[in-house]
């Protein structure tokens, strides 16, 4: 881990710093002074986030169910085998992938389109932007309750109310959540996450070098060519950043699944399944094995994603 190399006193300085010439001796003394301010945060993070995870790994190799305290012991890979062969868990893995990919992709595309709309100057742009941000500022549980009860509800929800307004008393009154449980959750989450994507992409759009784009226009490039060959490449790293940050949060979603369907109707994702295995079924070994699998999956995706995103941060790292 990075922290191990960090703790060793270094001999060579960061390349850019050598320019700020002072004595080598003073620098060595300064090494710990520099590292000092970092340590509280670093130690805190390792203790609170890494230690528990080590325990999770240990427990994942154990038979441990709180209902059967006498049967605690070493289980080898049995928990992993049970988790991976269990139809419910496999379904939960699939739901997690669908939910994350669906929400991130849909909100990214919508966010991009809306960011392009808001990148132009028009009357009330600030007001529209404020309206757009609102979904992101509603507490997630409250937002899920809003969709479940005030919008989707088949007897008094707004959606069916609108259908009655349009088509009269005989309008179809679908039970949205029962008919399309996963899509119901995805739509509610897209509504919450589109503003987030839009905000980052709008900031990206506004950081475009305008003189270059004007020059391209004078040279005869049309709107589509400017978008395709100038705006989109410029936006690429912002798209990657918002996709990465969005995925980090959506893959862990618990609030919407818990609130809208309580994991029923085949919508239980991995966080919800693990929560149930541990909190309701008290099967600690199995919950931990599922947790370890989630972490492995996340690490695989994250290393890939981080590599592409790190270019964005590297640009401003010359210190």
């Amino acid at each position: 881990m990075s922290t191990e190399t960090e703790a060793r006193p270094g001999r060579r300085r960061h390349a850019t710093e050598t320019a700020g010439s002072q004595g080598t001796v003073m620098r060595k003394a300064g090494d710990w002074a520099r590292r000092g301010p970092l340590l509280p945060a670093l130690i805190f993070m390792i203790v609170v986030t890494q230690l528990p995870f080590v325990v999770t790994i240990v427990v994942s190799f154990m038979d441990w169910n709180a209902y059967y305290p006498d049967e605690r012991g070493f289980a080898g890979f049995a928990n992993f085998r049970r988790v991976l062969t269990d139809a419910n868990t496999r379904h939960a893995i699939w739901v997690t992938i669908l939910l994350t990919a669906g929400v991130v992709l849909l909100s990214l595309v919508l966010g991009l389109l809306i960011a392009l709309l808001l990148d132009r100057k028009f009357r009330g742009r600030g007001a529209v932007r404020t309206m757009m941000i609102t979904p992101f500022l509603v507490v997630p549980v409250a937002a899920a309750l809003l969709w479940k009860h005030a919008l989707y509800n088949p007897t008094y929800g707004l959606f069916n109310g609108v259908l009655k307004w349009i088509f009269g008393a005989n309008a179809p009154q679908p039970d949205w959540i029962s008919n399309q449980p996963l899509w119901s959750i995805i739509f509610a989450l897209v509504w919450q996450w589109t503003p987030f994507m839009m905000l980052i992409l709008l900031a990206g759009l506004q950081s475009r070098p305008l003189d270059v784009i004007e020059a391209a226009g004078i040279d005869g490039a049309n709107q589509w060519e400017i978008f395709r060959y100038m705006t989109l490449p410029h936006l690429r790293q912002y798209l990657e950043l918002s996709a990465l940050l969005g995925s980090i949060y959506v893959v862990q979603n618990f609030d919407a699944v818990f609130t809208i369907t309580s994991g029923g109707l085949g919508t239980a994702n991995l966080p919800y399944t693990i929560y149930q295995t541990f909190y309701t079924a008290h099967d600690y070994g199995r919950a931990s094995a599922a947790g370890v699998i989630v972490v492995i999956g996340t690490i695989l995706i994250a290393t890939f994603a981080l590599r592409s995103v790190s270019t964005l941060f590297r640009e401003e790292t010359g210190r």
């Binding site: 000092g36 805190f44 528990p52 028009f122 809003l146 509504w191």
Partner: protein, 281 residues
């Protein structure tokens, strides 16, 4: 010649501009509509809130709010405030020195450290929940607000370090060098050179941490009970409520979301920079 082309283009853009501005307005209204609907419903009587098709002209009443407050939400709101404010303070206290070490006078391998912080955000919360639960259970720390404060601090610390680092790297190195040549101490430099530049950054980092702590559900649901219950956990009490409580549910959602809505609207611009970990200016 080219001048003529741009004039034509300018006309085109202005011609389509009306439609695009209108579209932007429609999209904005569609996105805010569910929240406005929740707000309107919260002021209706339960009977009118459950009408289909909805009765927009129904008389407004505070009954929904009255019945929500009669369910005793204050202790949970107070818990949320305590957990969010104290953990935010702790985050800033830990993150500021760390960000300083990572930006103004970077330690070696500092990008690794930075990515270590970010990688902890990718560790699914649920994978560390069980050991924390078992530990808290064995030392009698369950249903204790301090447990949440510590966990929320770990949840938000990486974000704050990333954000503050990006704000701190905007402090011109020359000024810092001048200060050190003049013999200013570290605390003196921090107070009179660095602080003025980064105070807005600290404010926005604190805001984001507050919002995330306020919104958190999973930890709070598993680790608290009756004493340390937070506002989102209180809201989950309405998850199964059916039938005639729509106005109450809407009122509850509005009240619990209000602090975040107010804080978010007040700091819209800083919000973007914060949410993108300072990578987007």
């Amino acid at each position: 010649m080219s001048g003529q082309v741009t004039i034509v283009k300018g006309h085109n853009r202005r011609g389509g501009g009306w439609a695009l501005s209108g579209l932007a307005w429609i999209v904005g209204i569609l996105f805010v509509l569910p929240v406005l609907w929740m707000l309107l419903t919260s002021f209706h009587s339960e009977e009118n809130a459950a009408k289909n098709p909805p009765d927009l002209a129904a008389p407004l009443t505070l009954d929904g709010y009255r019945s929500f407050f009669s369910t005793g939400p204050w202790p949970s709101i107070a818990n949320s405030l305590t957990a969010s404010i104290l953990s935010t303070a702790l985050v800033i206290l830990l993150a500021f020195p760390a960000a300083y070490a990572l930006s103004i006078r970077p330690v070696r391998k500092w990008t690794d450290v930075l990515f270590f912080f970010l990688s902890t955000k990718m560790l699914p919360v649920v994978a560390g929940l069980l050991p924390i639960y078992l530990f808290a259970q064995s030392v009698g720390f369950l249903d204790n607000i301090w447990l949440l404060i510590i966990l929320y601090t770990s949840m938000n610390l990486p974000i704050a370090v990333w954000m503050l680092r990006s704000f701190l790297s905007e402090v011109p190195v020359e000024i810092l060098e001048a200060a050190s040549v003049d013999g200013a101490s570290l605390t003196r430099t921090l107070r009179s050179v660095v602080a003025p530049v980064v105070t807005p950054g600290i404010a926005s980092a604190a805001l984001i941490c507050f919002i995330f702590s306020w919104n958190e559900l999973l930890f709070a649901r598993v680790l608290t009970g009756t004493v340390a219950q937070t506002a989102p956990v209180f809201l989950t009490g309405f998850v199964t409520s059916q039938g005639l409580f729509l106005a109450k549910v809407c009122a509850a959602s509005i009240v619990v979301s209000l602090p975040v809505l107010i804080a978010g609207f007040a700091a819209q611009d800083k919000l973007v920079q914060g949410l993108s970990l300072g990578a987007v200016k």
